[in-house]
């Protein structure tokens, strides 16, 4: 079955509208992308949609009550709420360093949750 659709690229704020044609697992980018990154995005969006996930984790004894975190890689779209649930159950002790691993292999995705900010101990 051939399926044609228009995908709004989210790699950068230009937000190109990329037309793609999907034939089973084969994908053809027709037009609309202004850069090469758009082709990769359109392919992954059509065949294996993923999103960069960012959230925050509770901090004990920190100058801030939270530390912002992100996935080390984009997370499969259908696993986002599962990952968020795990993120909510965690509490880390200050100090936290930017880049520190907070959760390894979150929800068996082989993706790590890492701190995007440093939080000093109070």
């Amino acid at each position: 079955m051939i399926n044609e659709k228009e995908i709004t690229c989210i790699i950068c704020p230009i937000s190109c509208k990329i037309s793609v044609r999907i034939d089973g697992k084969r994908l053809e980018v027709c037009k609309g992308n202004k850069c090469k990154k758009g082709i990769d995005y359109a392919r992954s969006e059509a065949l294996d949609p993923r999103r960069m996930l960012t959230s925050s984790v509770l901090v004990k004894n920190g100058e801030w009550p939270l530390v912002s975190v992100k996935g080390s890689e984009p997370i499969p779209k259908d696993k986002i709420f599962q990952v968020l649930k795990q993120i909510k159950q965690i509490k880390v002790d200050a100090p936290v360093k930017l880049g520190q691993n907070i959760i390894k292999n979150v929800s068996n995705t082989e993706i790590n949750i890492i701190a995007t900010k440093s939080v000093k101990r109070m």
Binding site: C12, S15, S68, T116, K117
Partner: protein, 425 residues
């Protein structure tokens, strides 16, 4: 607390003073140091650096500027580390009280009053969010109404949840990003209401924040009434016509405990006005020349207090240029002004920057269009003479347009204003 009587005047003499340590102030300070300024100090009223960036925990920062996608806190950290390495001095929890034409600044913090003499000054105060009272939404005055950025700060910095059933008025980027964030934190986001026929935030945020989570976007709608005695109980939304007037009979009540307002930003220029800098009534920021120098000599403006930028990347790139110009001014390399022409926003253009030009050569222009256009042709005129005609793939009010144009000595000395227009063809 400082006891009364213990306040002393601390005198400082520096090359460049930057007001505001948000992304614009950081970029300007770094660039000032890189371009020959001696002592560069940055004053900020917060206890942290980076301004709004630490609460912008989503990613997408840095893509246009350096080709890597970072979160707000990471982007801020990169700039702060660089500034520290270059020996920029930061003053935290420091409020600027007054600014003078001779580049004297009166500021206060816990250590006391400071009188800072600077060779040049960079304004980087950023902007504020519009509130309910800027758009006059009728109804009662319950609690549960926040601006989107304030709610974002509560959630991302202070671990305070703002509500359970939330409606967002305005489809600006902050509103869209907060909609997703609220959803992640378990709130029921009942919809985003937008008075215009199109979303005012970036299309990628409409996709990533609303479409992904089936959050409805009500275009051509507004909030007609706010109801609630103590806490917000409901809002009434209604459709609007082309004149943005409510169409009677289209009202619909939505039960909710929280209303977030994402209505746009107002450049913060109390200090600029106080010192007598001319303000552009459309941008809400200072009138500047091609060096981003305001109408007061040696005072430059950058970032969101100059104009509200689409992305931090473009803002930082601009602020670096401004920091360089301020450094040059501080070390005495001032440019010779050889003429004066005004730049005016003609047909289809909401505003254009810089508003005046006083030296020939390449000028980098920023503009915003009034209406979305599928095809667009940009033109620059000097009087009746067309100097530039440029085809654009499309034009959208949400996307700032930038272009370079060489202003000749002849144009500069003609005294005729440069008019920028945009048309379908």
């Amino acid at each position: 607390m400082v006891e009364q009587g213990s306040l002393k005047m601390i005198n400082l003499d520096v090359d460049v003073t930057v007001i505001g340590a948000g992304p614009a102030g950081l970029a300007a300070a770094i660039s000032a140091r890189e371009n020959g300024a001696g002592e560069v100090i940055v004053l900020d009223r917060n206890s942290w650096l980076g301004g709004i960036l630490p609460q912008c925990i989503h990613d997408g920062f840095g893509v246009e500027e350096i080709g890597t996608s970072m979160t707000g806190p990471e982007y801020a950290d990169m700039y702060i580390k660089n500034a520290e390495k270059l020996g920029v001095t930061f003053f935290y929890e420091t409020m600027v009280l007054q600014l003078f034409k001779n580049h004297e600044i009166i500021a206060v913090n816990k250590k006391g009053l400071h009188k800072i003499k600077a060779k040049s000054i960079v304004l980087a105060m950023g902007c504020r969010e519009k509130t309910r009272w800027d758009v006059l939404i009728p109804g009662e005055r319950p609690s549960g109404i926040y601006t989107a950025g304030v709610a974002q700060g509560f959630i991302n910095l202070y671990n305070i949840m703002v509500g359970k059933n939330v409606v967002i008025l305005g489809s600006g980027d902050v509103g869209l990003i907060v909609a997703r964030r609220l959803r992640f934190e378990g709130a029921n986001v009942k919809g985003v209401i937008e008075i215009l026929p199109y979303a005012s935030g970036l299309p990628r945020n409409v996709v990533q924040c609303l479409d992904d989570y089936n959050i409805p976007l009500y275009l051509n709608h507004t909030v007609a009434y706010i109801k609630g005695r103590e806490r917000l109980e409901s809002i009434t939304i209604a459709q609007v016509d082309e004149k943005m007037e409510i169409i009677y009979g289209t009202e619909k009540e939505i039960k909710c405990d929280t209303l977030l307002l994402s209505l746009g930003l107002i450049p913060e220029n109390e200090l600029s006005k106080q010192v007598g800098i001319e303000i552009d009534t459309i941008t809400g920021g200072p009138v500047v020349d091609q060096f981003f120098e305001t109408t007061v000599k040696g005072i430059f403006a950058c970032g969101n207090c100059l104009q509200v930028y689409d992305t931090v990347d473009i803002l930082s790139i601009g602020a670096k240029q401004v920091g360089k110009n301020a450094a040059k001014y501080a070390v005495g390399e001032t440019h010779e002004k050889i003429g004066f022409v005004k730049v005016t926003a003609g047909k289809g253009i909401r505003y254009v920057l810089p508003q005046q030009i006083n030296k020939s050569g390449k000028v980098h222009f920023y503009l915003r269009v009034e209406q979305p256009k599928k095809t667009a042709v940009l033109r620059v005129f000097s009087g009746d003479v067309e100097l530039l005609k440029k085809k654009l793939p499309w034009a959208n009010p949400a996307n700032m347009i930038e272009f370079d144009f060489n202003v000749s000595e002849k144009v500069l000395k003609s005294n005729k204003p440069l008019e920028v227009t945009i048309d379908d063809q």
